[in-house]
């Protein structure tokens, strides 16, 4: 069985698993990191959204064999560590302040998407617009979308 090595939430991990197993199952079923959720398995619902080298990606659609040793995977469990200040990441705090979560199942993915979105528009030298929020594909079946939009705006203000 091949050895797969990558950096997960700041620590190098090595797992014995076949190349073609998707990263989502390596995280959830083998490493027990359950923040990224299954909602479709085909990169549609975005419930598993996590970060690779600081950008959003969907581990349900990436073979673990395609990860490189130096690839930094961040799940919701490691998000606060990527932020220099103490406590939670400002986007997580915004989610708490706006009381966004209902069932909470999609929210780890929503938060990871939101953080990547803010970083992306900042790389483009601008702030978030309504049209950026409209393009977020993450499904929330409880319908918390209004508060998600409010929280992203709050989180973005604090991410400076």
């Amino acid at each position: 069985m091949p050895k797969q090595t990558f950096i997960l939430n700041g620590k190098t991990v090595t797992v014995n698993v076949r190349d073609d197993v998707r990263v989502l199952w390596v995280l959830r079923d083998i490493l027990g990191v359950t923040g990224p959720k299954y909602g479709c398995g085909i990169n549609v619902c975005k419930a598993c959204t996590s970060h690779i080298n600081g950008k959003a990606f969907n581990p349900c659609s990436v073979k673990v064999g395609d990860l490189k040793k130096k690839d930094r995977i961040t799940t919701i469990e490691g998000l606060d560590e990527t932020w220099p200040g103490p406590g939670l990441h400002p986007m997580q705090q915004a989610w708490i302040d706006r009381d966004v979560a209902q069932c909470g199942y999609c929210q780890p993915g929503q938060i990871m998407e939101a953080v990547a979105l803010v970083k992306r528009v900042r790389r483009q030298g601008r702030e978030i617009r309504d049209s950026d929020l409209d393009k977020i594909r993450n499904i929330c079946r409880c319908g918390t979308y209004v508060r998600i939009r409010e929280a992203i705006e709050q989180g973005a203000r604090k991410m400076r």
Binding site: V21, I52, L88, L133, C142, I148
Partner: protein, 802 residues
């Protein structure tokens, strides 16, 4: 919080405990306020024997008093007795079996026999306990109770009924606990209870403070003791009615919140099922079993009635195995049926109207007939359950809204006695009706029994719309008769594919059959009874009838259930669209016409509120319009005003492949009167969520039946509301209610939102839609394969990093 017992707590040691409750409180809303009227009298309950303080309420005393309810003169049953009452009365006889414990650590513990699926009931119930206990919220542990068969019908979460049915029992138990702590403190301090007060988990006489922790043992009883207690009056509430954030908010945003598939149960490896192409088909045989068993990670393969189950090291390997299976299938239950054939059958079975269409010249008739497609009730968390079935016992972990029924069914399929089946209730990743049934738990138990190992079963997303629970297809036909400018009759005939009520509501009807007889439910079937208990059109429309027919020919043909409501979103859309047509015929404004015709002040106040806040009647550009609608149910009401944009540049927004855009609701204003509000922050969230469901039901989300197969297989086919269709401007206004009882919130905004969107769409396009959702005629995706029944997991994810 500080409260002097002399204000609100009295002991009545000599009162006869069987004293009758006081009569109806005239300040309460409607005649149906059966629990609210108990609010100003004393209640009885028990201090149970134990080493620490354990208390319970006894609401069965109140229940005996309700059989004298008079037959209403009002035309509709829910004005006197509705589904909320049915569920609440079903829960009362066993209320004494629900206990609150004050531990020797000073913490209150309450195992709640309801299920948290996102609606916020753990938070609101903790608030109710905090109020009566005078204990901070962070010292109260509300957990989900495992299945407790002795609770009979008191462990069903549905119908937006949780707070309505548990509000009083929970308060009584908490008040008794506080009373016992005061009594114990009075003995220790050598004083009287009325010289003591409680605050923040401490009993004090102003000099000495005794913590609940130090009193819990002394307050305990050696024997079961029956006591009486009075509840805190509403005007002294300090917790109830204040906005509180969800208690699990931090866990939800850090990934710590555990759902069923996140649990680690020893040996419970990932398990999935290869399902038939046809709806409700079944497996004949697996032709390549040994090849499948040799696949990477696979440990077990068994045949069960619903398909071929496979257990592997990872879910990904289960998916690979399912895709490799060669299975011969038996036919399904609707193999030759499609949307059009089902609809034609429904049309044929529509019950006749009473008022004839061809009336004398002075009368006018407005006639409408709407169709509603199948919809999937699936939550974002697919059906999932962990099962460990041994020869002499079984243990299950799953999100279940009726865990007792699941326990019975699991006992039946495993051949174990019910008391050897332990059912743990896990917080669900949404429900919307999905988890009323124990399909997932029963299936996991079957698989574990057959494989003789623990399993962690998860449905693939594709399984949900194709084999999971659906909201049934229905038609709703209305006829309004107008004579001399007045509506003299309004008839609605709802015809639906059979709704499955085997989850427990049916049982409630049976057990209370004698009491329901006088109000006119005698002889009706389950579905018709539920319909009668939920439908109320609060308008003065003369002879008003709403009837349901669920033709027998559909029984057991489809896997059906509720979906964030039962019938109301469809009936509400049909009725409110018809009312707009009546107003048009009379040359009246839709808002003003409703205000003239509404007979209920609470509904009128809500409607007026949205009209004011939403600036009803403001000038709108061509292709855009406002719509307005109301809904009265769950001991409360909602009114919704929306603005919709149906201009081509909006409808045809291009946001990539398999992205349905269509018209966009640009603004929504919701007013809600749900009676006594426990947590306004949670109520607002439920209104916002209900709006998103209403938008999806009217505009985008449905399932297509084609030759016995449902075409949808994932969220790129099943178009629940997405960010690009969320209104940018959403306002929720909570109306200060005259009612003192808490009503339902989870489903309350769905019907009125769906109807307001439909009315706005009709006004913007000048065409009344006949089929919902409005995009159902167009199949805007390529259906995924049926054999294999699940799509392959993509491998190109790194191309889409962003």
């Amino acid at each position: 919080m500080t409260t002097r017992p002399s204000d609100d707590l009295h002991n009545h040691p000599h009162d006869p405990l069987d004293e009758l409750p006081e009569g109806h409180d005239p300040a309460a809303f409607d005649a149906d306020d059966s629990i609210g009227r108990l609010g100003r009298r004393s209640f009885v309950g028990y201090v149970l024997a134990g080493s620490t303080l354990v208390v319970a309420a006894d609401l069965s005393v109140g229940r005996a008093q309700r059989a004298d309810a008079a037959v209403p003169s009002a035309p509709q049953i829910p004005e006197l007795y509705d589904l909320e009452d049915l569920q609440t009365d079903s829960a009362l006889p066993t209320s004494a079996l629900i206990t609150v414990t004050i531990g020797k650590d000073g913490r209150a513990k309450f195992a709640f026999p309801r299920t948290e699926v996102g609606q916020g009931i753990i938070t609101s119930t903790t608030m109710i306990l905090a109020e009566e206990l005078d204990l901070p919220i962070d010292k109260i542990d509300v957990t989900l109770s495992k299945a407790r068969p002795e609770l009979l019908l008191n462990q069903l979460t549905g119908g937006s009924n949780t707070t309505f049915s548990t509000y009083t029992p929970v308060r009584v138990a908490a008040a008794i606990a506080r009373q016992q702590l005061l009594k114990a403190a009075a003995i220790q301090l050598g004083t009287n209870v009325d010289r003591l007060f409680t605050t923040g988990g401490v009993v004090s006489d102003g000099v000495t403070n005794l913590t609940y922790a130090s009193l819990a043992g002394d307050a305990a009883s050696q024997v079961v003791e029956r006591v009486r207690v009075q509840l805190r009056p509403q005007e002294k509430f300090k917790v109830i009615g204040r906005p509180v954030s969800r208690l699990d908010a931090r866990d939800a945003v850090t990934g710590k919140k555990k759902f069923t598939t996140d649990l680690k149960v020893k040996g419970a490896l990932p398990t999935m099922v290869c399902r038939p192409p046809q709806h409700q088909g079944s497996p004949k045989r697996l032709r390549n079993r040994s090849a499948i068993l040799r696949m990477p990670g696979v440990t077990h393969v068994v045949t069960i009635p619903t398909g071929i189950a496979v257990r592997a090291k990872t879910f990904g390997q289960c998916i690979d195995a399912i895709r490799a299976m060669k299975v011969d299938w038996n036919p399904g239950t609707v193999d030759n049926q499609s949307d059009a054939t089902v609809l034609a059958k429904l049309r044929k079975q529509e019950l006749p109207m009473v008022v004839p269409k061809d009336l004398p010249a002075l009368a006018q008739t407005v006639e409408t007939n709407f169709a509603f497609a199948f919809r999937s009730s699936a939550a974002l968390e697919t059906y999932a359950a962990i099962a460990d079935v041994r020869s002499d016992r079984a243990e299950i972990w799953a999100g279940l809204k009726v865990p007792i029924l699941a326990q019975q069914n699991i006992a039946a399929v495993t051949g174990l006695p019910q008391d050897r089946v332990k059912v743990n209730v896990i917080t669900g990743g949404g429900s919307f009706g999905h988890k009323l049934f124990g399909d997932h738990a029963i299936e996991a138990a079957r698989i574990s029994k057959a494989m003789k190992v623990p399993v962690k079963l998860m449905w693939h997303r594709a399984d949900e719309p194709r084999q999971g629970r659906l909201h049934p297809m229905a038609t709703s036909r209305c006829r309004a008769t107008i004579v001399a400018g007045q509506v003299v009759s309004f008839e609605q005939r709802h015809t639906s594919v059979t709704t499955d009520f085997s989850h427990g509501l049916g049982e409630m009807l049976t057990s209370l059959a004698d009491e329901l007889d006088p109000i006119g439910l005698g002889g009706l079937g389950f579905a018709e009874s539920i319909f009668s208990l939920t439908q109320e059109l609060p308008y003065n429309f003369g002879a008003l009838t709403q009837l349901l027919n669920e033709p027998l020919e559909f029984e057991d043909k489809f896997s059906t259930g509720s979906m964030r409501n039962i019938y109301s979103p469809d009936t509400c859309v049909a009725a409110e669209l018809t009312i707009d047509q009546v107003a048009k015929k009379l040359g009246k404004d839709p808002f003003k016409f409703r205000m003239e015709m509404l007979k209920n002040d609470r509904v009128k106040a809500a409607l007026q509120k949205v009209a004011d806040e939403g600036r009803w009647g403001r000038k709108m550009a061509p292709g855009t319009a406002q719509g307005i609608a109301i809904h009265k149910e769950y001991k409360g009401c909602t009114a919704v005003l929306v603005e919709i944009d149906c201009r081509p540049r909006t409808v045809n927004r291009n946001l990539g492949k398999e992205t349905v855009t269509g018209p966009r609701v640009t603004k929504a204003v919701i007013a809600v009167d749900t009676g006594l509000v426990i947590n306004p922050r949670g109520l607002e969230a439920q209104m916002q969520g209900g709006l998103m469901d209403g938008i999806a039901l009217t505009l985008t989300s449905s399932n297509h039946l084609q030759d016995g197969k449902f075409l949808e297989a994932s969220w790129d086919n099943y178009f629940y509301t997405r960010q690009w269709n969320v209104p940018k401007d959403v306002e929720v206004h909570i109306i200060k209610s005259k009612s003192q009882t808490p009503g339902g919130a989870g489903e309350a905004a769905v019907g009125s939102s769906a109807a307001a969107v439909a009315c706005a769409y009709a006004r913007a396009t000048k065409k009344v839609p006949q089929y919902f959702p409005i995009n159902h005629a167009e199949i805007s995706f390529k259906p995924k394969s049926f054999v294999p029944p699940v799509p392959a997991s993509p491998t190109n994810g790194l191309k889409f990093t962003r």
